[in-house]
């Protein structure tokens, strides 16, 4: 209504931010905690920023102003480079001591992880074994189903089916991993012993099933992208030669999309390697060397999560945990890099057609 009167409108637009700031400051008294704190200082910050935004353009020449803004934007652009270097630096800085203090042969060849015994043993093999076992099982379960789903969505499903399946996949991807872990612990923890007769409620298979459900959305959506990018001409040509839909899928579309699907698998493997909360809750966390999927295992990530809370700051154990972080960082970096390379190549190949 007031927008019919230009002067009122201008006055309103001028006053609105200040009003909002004051309101926020006033309402901050409703909450004694940190959100009230945010409202108080947020209100002040809003008013200060708005005032500067009104005054500064009038005193600073446009060229200087734009230059400053450009510098600010370029700085934010570089923030992720800074972040990745800081992560790299601080993980390595804290982990490096462990690589010096613990002989590498013990670290990567030791079969026992017992940092709290009188003679501490820092053998990473049981943890690496746990991570690999869970990751392998997860891939075996989730890849066929994920790719199958991707094929179904892009090649078979009608429009209305897609409208059900795609949001479902998206929602599934949004469920926090701690909830997956809890459900694995409670539901699968009863089911798996009942079916297989293993005495361990929490084991590698449990973690792998939980992670498979978690990662299927990732595989399905990336693989679907890859299948979607296969040129239409391939499909029509195959159909023209009398191939059934199944033959089209297995002999033409999947081979053509193979590298994209490989990237999907690699990315999901990278995520499995780095996943913490779900495996922490579902795998039982016994650091042992085993290939039995029904045995309880401890992954590298879970080990960091379990022990970091109790470890004395600056001890060899503390640095050893960071060293595990270094190993994790390096492995996931390599796997992600491989996935990226495969994807770029796939994009180039498809682009040429």
């Amino acid at each position: 209504m007031i927008f019919k009167f230009p002067k009122l409108k201008r006055g309103f637009l001028f006053a609105a931010p200040y009003l909002a700031g004051l309101l926020s400051m006033a309402f901050s008294y409703a909450d004694p905690g940190v959100i009230g704190w945010f409202m108080w200082y947020g209100g002040i910050a809003l008013m200060v920023v708005v005032t500067f935004a009104k005054i500064l353009p009038k005193i600073i020449p446009q060229k200087v102003r734009e230059k400053t803004i450009d510098i600010f934007i370029i700085a934010t652009g570089y923030s992720s480079i800074v972040a990745i270097f800081l992560i790299f630096f601080f993980i390595f800085k804290e982990g490096f001591t462990a690589f010096v203090d613990i002989p590498l042969a013990d670290l990567f060849g030791g079969k026992i992880w017992q940092p709290n015994s009188i003679v501490p043993k820092y053998g990473l093999l049981p943890l690496i074994n746990g991570t690999l076992l869970v990751t392998g099982l997860t891939a075996v379960i989730s890849v066929p189903i994920g790719v199958g789903t991707a094929v179904y969505i892009s090649e078979v499903a009608g429009r209305r089916e897609k409208e059900i399946i795609k949001p479902a996949i998206e929602l599934l991807a949004g469920i926090p991993s701690v909830i997956y872990g809890l459900l694995g612990m409670v539901i699968l923890g009863d089911l798996i012993p009942a079916i297989t007769g293993t005495p361990f409620r929490l084991n590698a298979l449990n973690g792998a099933i939980v992670l498979s459900v978690m990662l299927m959305p990732t595989i399905a959506s990336i693989a679907e992208d890859a299948i979607h990018n296969v040129p239409r001409t391939y499909r029509t040509a195959a159909a023209a030669m009398g191939a059934t839909r199944f033959e089209r899928i297995t002999r033409v579309i999947l081979p053509a999309a193979a590298s994209g699907i490989a990237a999907a698998v690699l990315l999901s493997v990278a995520r499995t390697l780095g996943e913490t909360m779900a495996v922490l809750l579902a795998t039982g966390n016994a650091a042992q060397l085993t290939a039995n999927p029904l045995a309880s295992v401890r992954t590298m990530t879970a080990n960091i999560a379990i022990e970091m809370g109790e470890v004395p700051f600056g001890s060899t154990h503390y640095h050893a945990l960071f060293a595990i972080g270094v190993v994790l960082f390096t492995i996931t970096f390599l796997v992600n890099f491989a996935a990226d390379t495969v994807l770029t190549r796939f994009a180039k190949k498809v682009g040429k057609e």
Binding site: E66, E170, L171, L172, A220, F246, T301, D340
Partner: protein, 296 residues
Amino acid sequence: MTTVDIASLRPKKSRFVVNAVAKWVFRAMAYLIVAVLAGIIGYVFYRGVGVLSLSFLIEPPRHGMTEGGISTCIYGTLALLILTTAIAVPLGVGAAVYLNEYAGHTRRARAVRAAVNNLAGVPSIVFGLFGLGFFVIFLQIGASLLAASLTLSVMILPIIIVATQEALKGIPNYFREASYALGATRWQTTSRTVLPLSVSGIITGVILSVGRVAGETAPLLFTGAAFYLPYIPEHPKRQFMELSYHIFAMATQSIDIRKTMPITFGTTFVLLALVFGFNLIGIIYRMRERSKRESW
């Protein structure tokens, strides 16, 4: 010259049988995912809805967390998300603007893109270690809401950058060209044409990104989430309780699992509702956004 057996050229029946069976196998896989989602929602609802009440939402935990509600956890989660958003969104949007409007395809831009990709692939527990080593110890912030938010901000940064870039890419180039043709500078074009047009897309991206990290636990383990704290943090430098960490703590370190299991599932229900709330708002907003785009 060999004679051709006409019968061998005729399509084999079995091919069509395989085709029909395969269709149902693929369908079963796809619907398995839907069924799992429905199962998860149903199970959490079934186990959690019983404990849910107003007092559960507005009371702090009592008696070593075997009784009482989860108000401090909800409060901590909200505070964490507010502070994280306040830190990460300006950085992320700025970086996306840099990548999309300023950098083009230069070598530097490629370096930034590579960094964003790598950052997105770093495991969440490594972010936790980084937060501990850098924010908590090196910068001496201490285990606190601030340290946890900063850690989570670094983690959410690539997600926001990618989401914002999607929104910026959706703006047709002729808007930019028209702006430049009128003599506008790069910043004028960005701030008066590109950003206003893409603002709802950016908000969608931010909502979905925040929804994705709302349940992250691993980065908070060593950076400030408290096991048991019956009052709310009054300052960003205090420790805090958080929903997902609460679930983890109750599931693994409960003093009386039979008494606390209902509380755990009540908390799970609340967290799931929060995350789905974010996701649904984001998805619905995005659908409206798309229908608007079609008129361009």
